[in-house]
Symmetry: C2
Subunit: 358 residues, 2 copies
């Protein structure tokens, strides 16, 4: 199209394209297929920042010899309901799937199961993993450290913590799942980038310079963030008055859960790989409650919040709607991204097979 509306692409074709690239990079077939599934589902859910567009980062990590695409996640410490997994400096998706699967099995035996992962890389959007557990009737919580320091301790101006997301999912009887998937910063970095690209000013309180002053020029803010000369506020904003100390506390909680037990990298570390840490907790409500009771409870809770309130948007609802429309109409990919993918295919020596839906 020539009007600036991105062309749309079939999810199955996009999956084949990603598998082609990952395979050309040396990833074995099984993890390549699983990783491509996570990425395509993320694009289907409308979370464009964490799907196929991440291939650019992965290529960069490969070129810097930081990423081992043939790594096999392995259990290095094991307790009945808890384990530590070493991701072998591989991509985070196979490690995240391995950890979730292990936690699910431990929960089946013990009622709950948890896994801490270390020595890992970016694993996409956490929502995919926790939703997959909720689809099996389980409750799941997941956190991860992130690679770029952008959030300062409250009262400080040095970027130390990442956007440190937390995700949670619970099953529903009515079909679908309740899915919360959020960074613990007031916004994700890619949202600042989106404001910069569209020339909009940032709301006050999102980004601050090293003197602690708010920056509303989105292009300047994004540029300073990439060089660690600015910070994104924690959820709650830059002051305690608006709850910034709570977002800071959540960010710390996510970092400690994700990295302290697995021994993943501290912030500002400068090692041979990103060494991210993830944490997965799975609760099997069926171990202690009547089958389906918690799912029915969630339905009633949702009913209470929405029965008189047409304007309420539940966490996960925008993603569910995106999945429906994109499964039907295809996934929009802007021309700038397609150009990157063509170049990646060229460098990897694999075919660019993406063709727009007619």
């Amino acid at each position: 199209m020539n009007d600036g509306t991105p062309n749309r692409f079939d999810a199955a074709q996009l999956h084949r394209q990603i598998v082609g690239i990952l395979s050309a990079w040396g990833m074995p077939p099984e993890p390549a297929a699983a990783t491509a599934t996570v990425m395509v589902e993320t694009d289907l859910s409308g979370i464009d920042s964490h799907g196929v567009s991440m291939l650019m980062l992965y290529e960069k990590l490969l070129s810097e010899d930081r990423l081992r695409l043939d790594a096999v996640p392995r259990v290095v410490r094991d307790a009945p309901a808890f384990a530590v997994v070493d991701a072998g400096a591989g991509l985070g998706h196979p490690a995240g799937l391995f950890a979730m699967d292990l936690a699910v099995r431990k929960a089946a035996a013990s009622g709950i199961g948890a896994v801490a992962v270390g020595n890992s890389h970016h694993l996409g959007a956490l929502g995919y993993y926790v939703r997959s557990a909720a689809q099996r009737g389980l409750i799941a919580l997941m956190t991860t450290t992130t690679r770029t320091p952008v959030v300062a301790a409250l009262g400080g101006t040095t970027p130390i913590l990442g956007t440190n997301p937390i995700a949670f999912a619970a099953p529903r009887m009515a079909g679908g799942e309740l899915v919360v998937d959020m960074s613990t910063s007031v916004v994700a970095m890619n949202k600042v980038k989106a404001y910069a690209l569209s020339g909009r000013d940032l709301p006050a309180g999102w980004v601050s310079d090293r003197a602690g002053s708010t920056i509303t020029d989105a292009s300047l803010a994004y540029s300073l963030l990439t060089t660690q000369e600015a910070t994104i506020s924690p959820l709650g904003g830059p002051s305690t008055e608006t709850g910034g100390h709570k977002g800071f506390g959540l960010s710390l909680m996510v970092h400690v859960l994700s990295a302290s037990i697995s021994g993943a990298a501290l912030p500002l570390h400068d090692g041979p790989s990103d060494d991210l840490g993830h944490f997965v907790l799975v609760i099997d409500p069926g171990s202690v409650a009547e089958g389906g009771a918690p799912a029915g409870y969630v339905d009633e809770l949702v009913h209470l919040m929405t029965r008189d309130e047409p304007g309420v948007v539940l966490p996960g609802e925008p993603e569910t709607e995106a999945r429906a429309s994109r499964s039907r109409d295809g996934i929009p990919l802007p021309e700038s991204l397609l150009e990157h993918l063509r170049a990646i295919c060229g460098r990897a020596g694999t075919d660019m097979i993406l063709t727009p839906l007619g």
Copy 2:
């Protein structure tokens, strides 16, 4: 004193006073002593809203025949690493302590342990419970539902959810613990009350009326909140631009974790007791990591955040400082609270033994 500065009281004497009242109300000695310890420690930590001042609510619940002070928490469903506890409509403190102790024992056997509590009441500040686990070298997460609906679903204006707090603690090598204890609303209700008492205007975005307009008159806001004609914003504020959808998601997560498995009350329920739900998770890092490694990790994380930043205040630090000064100088109790305590003692038929420190 006559200058408005509250008199200060010895912690051990306050403990005896609370035990006296709880015993006169019919609570057996052991849970009365344990409950008084949680309350006094909370006052020592400077969290005046959740300590001895809560006796007024507990008396009201008793007078309405909603609270069973002789209840004994019991395990009603059990899995190796997970259990559901029925608090028997008792006070939340004995149930919270029972659940934490059970989760600690399960974590010792399985690496992690979790307990969901139902049929409970107010249990004070969560920080006490998670800190007690961290003092034993464990990592703990705790959530609870709360009794008064004050937070609307994002996009709605009906108060449905409580302030739904979440607490987290991890051990440190350097002594002390990292403790996060926060409501998932932008502020707690008692903070609105404090603004009203001091005649200050509320910041915009804290409280909204049923039309969705912000209320800055603190007295009006507090009054409307008590009659469910206003709402407190979730953490992140009243709009998605400032992250309100994230605080709403966290609040939902807390409610589902705390109440869906134990079958505790849905919001707006109208039963014979408050029927609150709590959730406790304990992780024993020693089950899968070198002894003390996570605590050393937390120390390094704190060092990174504070080495160049004199203004940084860590979660839990104000409470640690309050504990030091109040342990030394006594706990300040305003005359208005002392009057309430005198009246409570009179109605309960027990002596008011509190005497100010000289």
